[in-house]
Amino acid sequence: MNPYAALFRMRFIRGLSYRASAIVGVATQFFFGLVFIMVFQAFARSGGSSLAPAQIASYVWLQQAFLALIMVWYRDRELLSTIAAGDAAYELCRPVDAYFFWYSRLLGGRLAGAALRCLPILAVAALLPDPYRLCPPPSVAAGLCFVACMALGLLLIVAITIFAYILTVVTLSPSAPFIFITPVYEFAAGMIIPLPFMPEALQQFLRVLPFRLCVDLPLRMYSGSIAAADAPGFLALQALWVAILLPLGRLTLNRAIRGAQSVGG
């Protein structure tokens, strides 16, 4: 097996072994999902947003079901402690590229997290009574575009969050980089409140940043709040960001490693 695929598989298998965490996660997310839908629908009724009630419900349910694919605070704790303890030296003694090795590992971890949780949430959400129900996408095209945007969004968020791991190589403190990146991302991506609830000027600003391409874009693509016809442009934008961030991250990691090793005996 290709070494990167093997690592991905390993991380995926490991992720599947945390059953209790998945059960608790599903319960929590279900509760939060219901609360968020009520709050946002109330806001929308008072004229706060262009989103229809059904679009709000699908936004929130998809957000909860695929949390592991879109949240920024998903962390590979073992990797972080490996970096902080200096065990990452081993990874440099392997005939692989350290950046893509970490990248596959983070990707595998996220997919494992989502694989365990998405189905129960989606299944129950689809059976709820009406303003809370997760409706199917308005067209096949919208559904396909959702999947494509979600997939590229996943590649993008891993390319973004891997910088927190790279920063840990320098700071040796796993929490600091996440404290930095979490609030910015959560707000700018539409994790805390969906972008259509924000003032137009703010929305315009946030559209320039890459973060919304991981959350706001795929979730609204599903319900048709962003037209499927606009998908090619957005997909190209996502791909562009990935194409910028991958080499940049790889370069940064190599430099960080060089710097880190010049300290100590």
Binding site: P3, I13, R14, D87, L92, C93, G265
Partner: protein, 265 residues
């Protein structure tokens, strides 16, 4: 096998006096100092040798090992291993070496040891048949059969270290770097690890570079020692001849008096 000639490496270290005033001052103008970790180190090692690389803490042992593993790039000097410059052809170089850092772990904490081994198989692209042979041989030699299906976290240090040794030899490297492989082990595990190293050298002709503070490791394994202190090679020759200088039948005392005599204690 290994040629090292006039290797130099220095790094910047910060320095400041104690107290808040000094701390503030150093925020404005950090006082950096260049520390020479290696001041022109030269030696050569032939195939099939077991060499003890010894010296007090901070002598430059780890720096040399890291350079030879391709993790670190020296400021100047030559290091050729099997005709390759480690840091320039890192991937090709590390594919042919095995590394054990006694104070670090290369096994995955939460998954069975065997899964970690299989990941390494894929990373080093070891063919299936060769892997099966290596594994059988290592499991027998290190007596691992009782805990291959257990996660690394539930192993004792001695069991784990035996697995670490196996992990670094699965791809049949010709050259093995051991950085304090017996640290923290009880007498039984220590003897088992030593016997195994001796056997790999005898049967497979593996060249071994052994770094340790345990004089008995050296006595048991290495006929030749290279002694480094303050970044310079102070002795390169037979272990017995060096110990004779120490003037004590107790190896630890003899070593301490040699360090004292050389002014590197």
């Amino acid at each position: 096998m290994i040629t090292v000639d006039n290797l130099r490496k220095s790094y910047l270290a910060r320095r400041r006096a104690s107290g808040p005033g000094q701390a503030l001052l150093s925020l404005m103008k950090p006082n950096r100092e260049r520390i020479e970790a290696l001041k022109g180190v030269s030696f050569s090692i032939g195939p099939g040798e077991v060499v003890g690389y010894i010296g007090p803490n901070g002598a430059g042992k780890s720096t040399t090992i890291k350079i030879m593993c391709g993790i670190l790039e020296p400021d100047s000097g030559i290091c050729l291993i099997k005709g390759r410059v480690p840091w320039k052809e890192r991937k090709a170089h590390v594919a042919g070496i095995g590394v054990v850092f006694g104070q670090r772990s290369q096994l995955w904490w939460d998954v069975p040891v065997l899964d970690s081994f299989e990941l390494l198989r894929d990373i080093y692209k070891v063919p299936g048949k060769e892997y099966a042979e290596s594994l059988d041989e290592l499991v027998a030699a290190l007596d691992l059969s009782g805990f291959l299906d257990m996660p690394a976290r539930s192993l004792s240090l001695g069991q784990r270290m035996r697995c670490e040794m196996a992990a670094s030899l699965l791809h049949r490297p010709e050259l093995l770097f051991l950085d304090e492989p017996t640290i923290g082990l009880d007498a039984v595990s220590k003897l088992a690890v030593r016997a195994f190293i001796e056997r790999m050298n005898r049967e497979r002709g593996v060249t071994v570079i052994l770094t340790t503070h345990d004089v008995h490791d050296i006595e048991a394994l290495a006929k030749r020692v290279i002694l480094i202190g303050k970044g310079e090679i102070l002795y390169d020759g037979a272990f017995d001849a060096l110990m004779a200088r120490g003037g004590s039948s107790n190896l630890e005392e003899a070593m301490a008096s040699i360090y004292g005599e050389m002014g590197i204690a």
